[in-house]
C-alpha cells in the first residue's frame, strides 16, 4: 500500500545549521500519526515539508508516491490542509475568515463547517479577535476543512490552549479522522497527548529519527521514555 508521505534521505539545513539530518521514514495512510520531539527537534520543519511551505535541502518527500517537487504547490496545499500552533485569524467575522478558504460558500455550508468542529452557527457573526484561543483554533480547523483536504497537518494546535480546550480539540480531531476519513499528522511534545492520540508514531531528536512505526510497540515505549527524559 502506498504511504501517505515518504521521506527519503531528507536533509534540511538553515544557515549551516542542521534542522533535519538524513531523515528516512514513512507516514502510512489511514492513521493518526503523531510526530513527537522536544523543542528544536525538527518536528515542525518535518511537517512544513509535507505541504511545501519549506523544501528539503537534499532528499525527496513523496505524497502518495509522487515526488512533492512534481506537484503544483497550490493544488497540493488544498489537498494537504494545515493548522498552525498559534490560531491565525484574519480581520473580520468568523464568516469572513471561512470565506478566505471557500469564497463561494453559502451560510449553510459555513454553518456545517462550524458544526464539524463543534461550534454553533451563531459564531458566524462573531468577530475573530473576540474568540477564545480554543474557539479560534476550531475556526482555523473549520477553515482548513472547507478546502476538503485529504490530510490535516496539525502543528502543536493545542499548545496555546488550556487543558480542557486541549482535550476537547483532541476529541474533535479524532472524530474527524475516524468519521471523515481525513488522515491526520499531529505534532506535539506533550507526553500525555502522545499516548492519547497516536496510533502511528514518529519520534525525532536533534533532527534525527529516534523511532518511526506503530505507537504500540516496545521500541515506541523506549523512544517515548528517551523523549520524556529530554522533555523533562
Amino acid at each position: 500500500m502506498t504511504n501517505l508521505f515518504s521521506f527519503e534521505n531528507v536533509n534540511v539545513t538553515i544557515e549551516d545549521t542542521k534542522v533535519l539530518g538524513d531523515v528516512s521514514l514513512q507516514i502510512p495512510v489511514g492513521h493518526l500519526t503523531v510526530v513527537a520531539g522536544a523543542s528544536g527537534s525538527g518536528k515542525t520543519s518535518l511537517l512544513r515539508l509535507c505541504n511545501r511551505l519549506d523544501v528539503p535541502t537534499a532528499g525527496t518527500v513523496r505524497f502518495r508516491g509522487t515526488d512533492l517537487a512534481e506537484l503544483d504547490p497550490l493544488v497540493l496545499r488544498r489537498r494537504v490542509g494545515m493548522v498552525f500552533q498559534q490560531p491565525v485569524l484574519f480581520g473580520g467575522t468568523v464568516a469572513e475568515n471561512l470565506h478566505v478558504a471557500a469564497s463561494d460558500a453559502g451560510p449553510d455550508q459555513l454553518a456545517t463547517a462550524l458544526a464539524g468542529v463543534e461550534l454553533g452557527a451563531e459564531f458566524l457573526a462573531r468577530i475573530g479577535d473576540d474568540l477564545s484561543g480554543g474557539e479560534a483554533q476550531r475556526v482555523c480547523l473549520a477553515r482548513a476543512l472547507l478546502c476538503e483536504p485529504e490530510v490535516l497537518l496539525m502543528d502543536e494546535p493545542t499548545a496555546a490552549l488550556h487543558p480542557a480546550a486541549r482535550r476537547s480539540l483532541e476529541a474533535t480531531v479524532q472524530i474527524l479522522q475516524q468519521e471523515s476519513k481525513v488522515d491526520v499528522v499531529w505534532v506535539t511534545h506533550d507526553m500525555e497527548q502522545i499516548s492519547r492520540m497516536a496510533d502511528h508514531l514518529v519520534v525525532l531528536a536533534d533532527g534525527d529519527v529516534l523511532y518511526s512505526g506503530p505507537a504500540q510497540s516496545a521500541e515506541a515505549d523506549w523512544a517515548l521514555a528517551t523523549l520524556a527524559e529530554e522533555v523533562d
Binding site: 538553515i14 505541504n51 511545501r52 511551505l53 519549506d54 523544501v55 504547490p73 497550490l74 493544488v75 496545499r77 488544498r78 490542509g81 494545515m82 498552525f84 498559534q86 491565525v88 484574519f90 478566505v100 478558504a101 482555523c140 477553515r143 482548513a144 478546502c147
Partner: protein, 259 residues
C-alpha cells in the same frame, strides 16, 4: 541681503530650529542627535557640490547632454538608495532602476515634449531632481513597508499560502497596505497644495516675476507628474518586492527583521 541672497549669518540663523530639535532629542533621549547632525552636514555638502555642478552645467555653450548624464546619475543613486533601505528584498536594484527610469522618461517627456519648460540645463537638472527626490521617499517606503509587513505578518501570509493561495494572492493585502502607507504623505501633500503650503516651483516662478496664474498652471502640471511618478514607482516597487520575497513555488522566503 535681499532678492534671495543669504549670508553666513542668515545660514547660521536658519540652523536655530535644528538646534532646538537637537536639544529636544537630548532632553527626551530620542537618540536622533547623530542622525540630525549627519543629515544637516550631508545636505549642506551635497547642496554646495550641486551648486558648483549647476554653475558648471549652466556655463554658456555647455551641451545639455551633461545635464542628462547628471539625471542618469541621480536615477542610479536613487535606485541604489532603495536597494540599501530594503536589503532583505533580493534583486531590488534592477526593479527600482527600471521603475525610476520609466517614470523619468515619461515625466521628462511630458515636461519638455509639451514645452512646459525649455530643454535647458537650468530646467533639466532641477526638474529631474524634483521628480526623483519626491518619488524616492515613497519608493523607499513602499519597499521597506512591504518587507516589514511580510515579516511581521508571516503567520497570516503562510496561513493563506496553506489554504492554496498563490504568492501574489497571499501577499496582496499586505502590499496594498504598504503602498497606501507609502503614498499617503504625497496624496495629503497634494490635497494641501495652495491651502497649507505654496509648492516650491510656483513660489520660485512668482518670485522670479512670472504671472501667478501661469505659475499655478506650471505647478499643477509638475505636481501631477510628481504624484504620478511617486504612485507608479511605489506600485511597481511594492509588487516587485512581493515577487522577490516569495520563491517561484509560492513559499515566503526567510526574512530577517532589520535592526
Amino acid at each position: 541681503m535681499g532678492q534671495g541672497d543669504v549670508d553666513a549669518l542668515g545660514l547660521v540663523t536658519s540652523l536655530l530650529l535644528i538646534g532646538v530639535a537637537l536639544a529636544v532629542s537630548l532632553g527626551q533621549q530620542l537618540r536622533l542627535e547623530k542622525q540630525l547632525v549627519w543629515a544637516t552636514l550631508r545636505a549642506f555638502a551635497q547642496l554646495i557640490v550641486m551648486g558648483f555642478v549647476l554653475a558648471w552645467l549652466l556655463e554658456p555653450g555647455r551641451s545639455v547632454l551633461y545635464s542628462w548624464l547628471w539625471v542618469v546619475g541621480m536615477v542610479l543613486f536613487a535606485a541604489w538608495t532603495v536597494r540599501n533601505r530594503a536589503p532583505e528584498v533580493p534583486g531590488l536594484f534592477p526593479i527600482a532602476l527600471a521603475a525610476l527610469t520609466a517614470s523619468m522618461v515619461v515625466t521628462m517627456g511630458v515636461i519638455f515634449g509639451l514645452r512646459i519648460f525649455p530643454m535647458e540645463a537650468r530646467a533639466i537638472v532641477p526638474l529631474g531632481g524634483m521628480m526623483i527626490g519626491n518619488s524616492l521617499g515613497s519608493t523607499v517606503l513602499a519597499a521597506r513597508r512591504t518587507a516589514d509587513e511580510l515579516t511581521d505578518k508571516r503567520p497570516e501570509v503562510e496561513a493563506r499560502l496553506a489554504l492554496g493561495y498563490s504568492s501574489a494572492q497571499a501577499g496582496r493585502p499586505y502590499v496594498r497596505e504598504a503602498i497606501k502607507t507609502a503614498l499617503t504623505p504625497r496624496i495629503e501633500s497634494a490635497k494641501a497644495a495652495g491651502l497649507v503650503f505654496l509648492p516650491g516651483a510656483m513660489t520660485g516662478l512668482i518670485l522670479a516675476g512670472v504671472d501667478p496664474i501661469d505659475a499655478v498652471l506650471v505647478q499643477a502640471a509638475i505636481m501631477y507628474l510628481i504624484l504620478g511618478t511617486a504612485a507608479t514607482t511605489s506600485v511597481v516597487i511594492g509588487l516587485g518586492s512581493v515577487r522577490r520575497l516569495f520563491t517561484p513555488d509560492h513559499r515566503l522566503r526567510r526574512l530577517v527583521r532589520k535592526a
